[in-house]
């Protein structure tokens, strides 16, 4: 099925498991300023209370104008996505993960190929979702596997943009060894320490220190197929 997935693309996930045993309906939408403003007012303050989180101190309000400008000026094809819980009755989308991508960068394992690069990825802590004044979510209805679903957004974007699933990222140092292990368990490959990055300023200014990870095409397809039950 991999070959079909590579050439016809794949839908984004539409549901997520919960502790209750039932699934909750989610939607992957293009990131907008409204999503980011809500995130900055409600989720980011809670994220910032935890100094061990890799996304501590992030300011998504700066990433949106960046993406708009970079999309016009550079050829990196940036894209932002919001993963949100759908509440059809009250017409609410409750953002629970944000993903900012660069859609066109040289692949880490084959510099002549193009890849997606995950620039920023953040998931809401449980507390941020249970403490929404106008819409508190019961603990057993909080979507699980949000990190995996958010990473799948990048892989899906890669498949749908003819990058064949190639996806790379830099594991923030604040995430420590646990974050490296997490990406490894998702099927990603680490760029061996000492191996050079593709030509460009990143090679000089942020050289490989053993924290760059990437999906090969077969690994991306396997990871994508692993979430098919949620599409």
């Amino acid at each position: 099925m991999g070959i079909f997935r590579k050439w016809r693309g794949v839908p984004f996930t539409q549901k997520a498991p919960t502790a209750s045993g039932e699934h909750v309906s989610i939607r992957v939408a293009k990131m907008t300023a409204v999503h980011v403003l809500w995130w900055d007012s409600h989720v980011q303050p809670i994220v910032d209370r935890d100094p061990e989180r890799a996304d501590n101190g992030w300011n998504w309000l700066l990433y949106v104008p960046f993406a708009e400008i970079a999309g016009r000026v550079l050829t990196r094809k940036p894209a932002g996505y919001t993963v949100g819980i759908c509440d059809q009755e009250r017409d609410h989308l409750i953002p629970c993960a944000l993903v900012q991508l660069l859609g066109r960068v040289p692949a880490l394992d084959d510099h002549d190929r193009e890849s997606v690069f995950v620039w920023f990825l953040s998931t809401a802590p449980d507390e941020a979702l249970t403490a929404i004044d106008e819409h508190p979510i019961p603990v057993d209805r909080i979507p699980r596997r949000l990190g995996t679903i958010a990473l799948d957004v990048a892989v899906t974007h890669s498949l749908n943009e003819r990058r064949l699933g190639r996806t790379a990222l830099y594991a923030d140092k604040r995430g420590g060894g646990a974050l490296l292990q997490w990406y490894h368990r998702r099927g990603m490959t680490v760029l061996p320490n000492g191996e050079q990055l593709p030509p460009g300023p990143r090679r000089l200014l942020k050289p490989n220190d053993g924290r760059y990870y990437y999906y090969t095409v077969p690994a991306a397809i396997e990871a994508s197929e692993g979430l098919d039950s949620l599409r």
């Binding site: 016809r8 693309g9 794949v10 839908p11 984004f12 939607r27 992957v28 939408a29 293009k30 907008t32 409204v34 999503h35 403003l37 809500w38 900055d40 007012s41 409600h42 980011q44 303050p45 910032d48 101190g57 992030w58 300011n59 309000l61 700066l62 104008p65 960046f66 400008i69 970079a70 000026v73 550079l74 990196r76 996505y81 919001t82 949100g84 759908c86 509440d87 059809q88 017409d91 609410h92 989308l93 409750i94 953002p95 660069l102 620039w119 920023f120 929404i132 106008e134 819409h135 899906t156 749908n160 830099y170 460009g200 300023p201 990143r202 200014l205 942020k206």
Partner: protein, 108 residues
């Protein structure tokens, strides 16, 4: 997270400790600069990957409380038509054809 602050200070002369000024510069001033300057600033920003050389000591100011986004204003991200699978594609096309024919029937 100080790369944005560093870039705004370097290319816009903005006080890197003033978070609102940094944000304003990216939103309002950067787009007005020559393309070559924008390219240089963005390339450097991409390379820094959000990590600045020094930490910003300013107190973080968050947005005021906002209402939840609506579903109506957040349509599902598009994906290739074929990705839905043949069954969905056919039902979608069939629905369109049937919708068009019923529209025609409704016309006087």
């Amino acid at each position: 997270m100080s790369a944005f602050h560093d870039i705004a200070a370097k290319y816009g002369g903005v006080d890197r400790s003033d978070g609102r000024a940094v944000q304003r510069w990216f939103t309002e001033e950067l787009p007005k600069l020559p393309t070559s300057t924008i390219e240089a600033a963005l390339e450097e920003l991409l390379t820094l990957d959000g990590e600045g050389a020094r930490e910003v000591e300013a107190v973080r100011v968050y947005s005021e409380r906002r209402p939840l986004p609506s579903l109506a204003s957040s349509p599902a991200a598009p994906f290739p038509l074929l990705a839905a699978g043949w069954r969905k594609l056919l039902s979608r096309l069939y629905g369109r054809v049937m919708g068009a024919s019923s529209d025609r029937q409704r016309k006087p």
